[in-house]
């Protein structure tokens, strides 16, 4: 049994919230540079140059890359031999979000009673927290600030099993096509297939944590990712929707077995500003 203090978790989350918002991760940067190299559209090239310049500026000045500092999505993988002491894990995470967003001059975007009053909670809490119990005695925290513009383009459906692979392609490509410039392309698409409806969207979100462009370890799934990326880039939407060859940087697909009657599919859309930061305690 390993003990981890709640105060350590708070400090870590506060730091990760800031770092994720200031420093675009290396995998995202590399994918954007590759997109710049492959883009033919002059307007797309200019927009990608500005995106890369912006990332450098944010890093140098430790300023938010994007003013939408997102919902703080926090994934915690808890080793089953870990014991959190001092306070409740979720409170410790929320306190970290509170401190990180305040200290980092990050925008607070959470509103309470979303269907009516929509009053800002003023500290960007509560975080959206996902926990997973894993073997071992480590605790891994990943923070993914998720912007509203791209999240709003995410969709879920349940296909009949007869629709199969083609049904999935049609569904995902249509989402990207109808979203056009709204989600700040070039985007990353997290796709969940299988499970129940809640599980499939969780898979789609989790797919966004994968290193940008890293293919699935399952060859059949990797082939589907490749086909989706090709068809999405054939849409011509381009960076910021100005027209171009690169509409998406990557498609990541995660699968799970499903019921004999169902083929649930979810697409979680991520803007080019794919921020994430991890720590292992």
């Amino acid at each position: 049994m390993k003990e981890i203090k709640a105060s350590t978790i708070t400090e870590t989350v506060a730091r990760l919230c800031q770092e994720a918002n200031f420093f675009l991760p290396e995998d995202t940067l590399e994918a954007l540079k590759k997109a710049r190299k492959n883009e033919e559209s002059p307007q797309g090239q200019q927009a990608l140059d500005r995106i890369l310049e912006n990332a450098k500026l944010a890093k140098d000045e430790q300023q938010a890359i994007c003013q939408d500092c997102g919902v703080a999505v926090v994934y915690v993988e808890i080793g089953q031999d870990v014991h959190v002491t001092g306070s409740y894990l979720y409170d410790a995470i929320d306190e970290g979000v509170r401190q990180g967003y305040e200290k980092g001059y990050l925008r607070k975007s959470m509103v309470r009673q979303p269907f009516s009053a929509r009053v800002n909670t003023k500290d960007n809490t509560p975080a959206v927290i996902h926990t997973e119990i894993v073997p071992g005695d480590k605790l891994k925290i990943s923070v993914l600030p998720k912007g509203g513009g791209s999240e709003n383009c995410s969709r879920l459906t349940v296909l009949t099993p007869a629709k199969g692979r083609q049904g999935i392609i049609d569904f995902v490509v249509d989402i990207v096509n109808s979203s056009g410039s709204n989600p700040c392309p070039p985007i990353i698409i997290g796709v969940g297939i299988g499970g129940t409806t809640d599980k499939t969207m969780a898979l789609a979100k989790k797919a966004l944590f994968r290193k940008v462009g890293e293919p699935s370890s399952d060859p059949e799934v990797a082939e589907l990712e490749k086909e989706l990326l090709k068809q999405i880039n054939n849409l011509g939407i381009g960076t910021m929707g100005y027209g171009g060859r690169i509409t998406a940087l990557a498609v990541h697909v995660e699968t799970f077995p499903s019921h004999i009657a169902s083929l649930p599919v979810a697409a979680n859309i991520q803007c080019w500003c794919a921020r994430h930061k991890e720590a292992i305690l």
């Binding site: 307007q43 944010a58 003013q67 925008r107 975007s109 800002n120 709204n182 910021m240």
Partner: protein, 184 residues
């Protein structure tokens, strides 16, 4: 080379703007997003004046990050314009001439742009730090209680933007996509 455009816009300037034009804006902008739009349109519906004279002005759809000490404003990139579509024609009807945001506009907004001779620009979504450097002055004009969503007045120099919809029906999103689409 980008066209340098002075704000507020005039009809003479607007008639020369075409979809796809690369622009640097300088002058005065007003900032409003979801909640401020709701309040402004409610005021109009109740016959009350708006918090600023909207005639000829440009509204930037944006909610900034807080300014660090010594900064004019925090990161300040555009938000998705489509959420303002229900309000935009009502503001164009009382004199709004320019909108800056990102993303698709609904047909009634495009129709209103042609009718009232107004233009829609996009700024680079997510480039909040870069755009903040072109903002030289920022002040809250109204609705302070809305925080990041308050109505603001900005003075900008060399604010980078692209014309999406012009007054002739031009639409860069449609034109750009048609140019690069690969048909299966």
């Amino acid at each position: 080379m980008p066209k340098k455009i002075k704000l507020p816009l005039t009809d003479d300037v607007i008639k020369d703007l075409k979809s796809g034009d690369d622009i640097l804006l300088s002058g005065v902008l007003y900032v409003a997003r979801d909640a401020a739009h709701k309040k402004m349109v409610e005021a109009l519906e109740q016959g009350k004046p708006l918090p600023f004279d909207i005639k000829g002005q440009t509204i930037y759809y944006m909610g900034p990050a807080p300014a660090k000490p010594g900064q004019v404003i925090g990161s300040a990139g555009p938000t998705t314009s489509g959420r303002m579509d229900t309000y935009a024609p009502k503001l164009m009807a009382v004199g709004l001439k320019g909108m800056i945001g990102k993303g698709n506009r609904a047909q009634p907004v495009k129709d209103a742009m042609r009718q009232y001779k107004a233009v829609y620009f996009a700024a680079i979504g997510g480039a909040g730090a870069l755009i903040s450097k072109s903002i030289k002055k920022a002040e809250v004009v109204a609705y302070d209680e809305l925080g990041a969503e308050a109505l603001r007045r900005l003075e900008v120099e060399g604010f980078p933007a692209t014309v999406i919809n012009d007054i002739y029906g031009g639409d860069l999103y449609a034109e750009g996509k048609a140019k690069y689409q690969v048909k299966a």
